[in-house]
Amino acid sequence: IAAIEIPQKQWPALIGTLLANMTQRESHAGLKQATLETFGYVCEEISHRDLEQAEVNNVLTAVVQGMNFADNTVEVRLAATKALYNALDFAETNFQNEMERNFIMKVVCETCMSKEVEIRQAAFECLVSIASTYYEVLEPYMQTLFELTSNAVKGDQESVALQAIEFWSSICDEEIELQEFDPESGESGAPHSRFIEKALASLVPMLLETLLKQEEDQDQDDSIWNVSMAGGTCLGLVARTVGDSILPLVMPFVESNIMKPDWRCREAATYAFGSILEGPSLEKLSQLVQSGLDFLLKAMKDENNHVKDTTAWTLSRIFELLHNPAGGFSVVSAENLERVVQILLEGIQDAPNVAEKVCGAIYYLAQGYEDAGPASSVLTRYIPSIIDCLLKTANRADGGDLKLRSSAYETLNEVVRCSNIVETSSIIAQLLPAIMEKLSSTVELQIASLEDREKQGDLQASLCGVLQVIIQKLSSVDETKTVVLQTADQIMVLFLKVFACRSSTVHEEAMLAIGALAYATGTEFERYMQEFYRYLETGLQNFEEYQVCAITVGVVGDICRALDGKVLPYCDRIMDLLIKDLSSEELHRSVKPPIFSCFGDIALAIEEHFEKYVPYALQMMQGAAELCARMDTSDDELIDYANQLKRSIFEAYSGILQGFKDSKSEIMLPYAQHLLQFIETVFRDKQRDESVTRAAVAVIGDLADALGPNTKLLFREKSFYVEFLGECLESDDEQLKETATWTKGMINRIMVS
């Protein structure tokens, strides 16, 4: 209630009443505890601007006094510390004042040494939150904070030690963000205090120590989170923060532990090595990894499950970060590839946790060859056995919670997607019926419980995903496209059966696959429309799972391009649903731009028949254009959204103008002025995105092309286009220049007419 009433100044007495609870001598501990909890709730919900500064100060004073050891019971101090955690944002003004900040920090640090574990943990949670909220004022406290966290990591209970590590991870997050924003620092105005760099020599040994505190079975249970895992995660962040300078601090630890008889030492050494692979320079890392790779491959045969788990994870990191044949660099060569593949295919038969990490390694190994041209040929000879092993892995009965099965299918997708299609066409063509058979057998499954239903849905989603990737891959080349065309009927029958099983994840995956199929089959897709249409309709009405709706909108576009005029019988209902989607406040906004683009697709397909939709569609487009002009230009996310929206509105105009060009272009005359006005606003926008520029220039040309001499006067009035075209013609973007040249030609034609 306070969260609603305080900002509206409707409950002015509340804070005073609560404060009285804390200050009156006769108040008992239970009342103080409840009051502090209430302060916590209220401070989290409201802004400090909703109260007078004096009230804010009084609240914080009461909370901080509640943390005082001498005066309060354990329960009151715990409630006060948790209340402070919730009130940290609320204390913004107080953190700007040095004296007040010093006081708050002093109390928090004292509380970090409290006798009670729960209170210490809550105090460290405050420090974690302070690290990210008030990074820029932490300098004077860092020595103390290092000592506090270091003691906690070394000797305190796990729940406290985890928060102490989290403190450093949060500092890394802040510094990484500062570096990403402005690598040279300084220009953005936000200070980079280089706390990690300064603490490095002590911080890294402290983190390395944690790596040796593994638990038995930690890799078999995804819910386990302990000091060694948090320590490795933090080490990875430190490496990303400081780069090369972490190497001399970590490598001696790796070298001295990696051969030790105790598995904990070997695992910790491997985990440390895997953690520093992102951040340092390629030059430094490649040398280390080249010499370490052979050792790691051998370690895949270690007697200990955890060592193998971490080794496989480290291999996946190596392939992710240091294997990029397309970019001309890789630690995998034609010479060692055979051994790499052999070890991975043996490792994938290991325990499920190890097998899953091996899937990750294969995933990134294959990904490296994407777009690698002739370099990708080296993998081709291994692809049949890789696919075979992945299918066997997906079939394993010991896959635990099905994570392994899903990982195997996702990896299979990556292998197919990144393969050299010319060389692997027959392998992939054979994979198609094998996956279809699997999908077909899921439809027949006996469903006795909700759990069965869920399992069936997951498996179908995975298999539809694989089919989509195969269809897309085979359709990308004419020689293999025929395989898709010959199988299209059976594929479609299968998808329709899957749709009938109802599960939204499956719908999304199947929808994506159908989009790819429509693209491949072209006009032939018409024969599936009558059956398929109702699922299209269901997808367009799925507001809740908006991704399904967005994908379906995209598929409508695919179908329009595939069927052209033959999509007409379905357009009344489709347009009706699209307009409803646009008008819906319930539907996620990200679906709206694709709908405008889809208007363009429909108009281009059905040409003059789009006439009856013009009043509705244009009303929506004009409304959205006006919304763009009013949008907040200081919010990055909104700027991005506005750019998407603008581009899609232009795409809609382009499709409609081109669709009407040969028959009814005059229909668009009344809208020409508004369109040019909108383009001018966009032209003057300083945050204009390249893709928006391209779409805007194209639509100017489409306007001139479709409406011809009718627009002569309009173009004379709106002479901004000259400047706009000039800017585009000077661009380095060839595609933009080409479009601008075309547009200029179209306008010249009407100007001389």
């Binding site: 899953e356 899937c359 996702e410 997708n413 897309q472 081109q658």
Partner: protein
Amino acid sequence: MLETQMAPHDLRRQYKRPAISDQQRRRELSLRRQEQNRRDAQLQARRLASTLLSLEHASGSEDIELVPEPEPEPDSQTE
């Protein structure tokens, strides 16, 4: 709120146990293919207009800046 402990960040848990999933990638690739197909379709319409323009020009209109016939783009590759 006050009862819940601040759990370790879910993203941190993912560090050594990343879920292999390319569902998002499948979505993005489909979207890219669709965008490319849309561009191709619209470009096709514009090429027709250009061809007509060049023909008009060849048949004698004057003072028109030449619009070069755009080179056909390489086949769309969405992979």
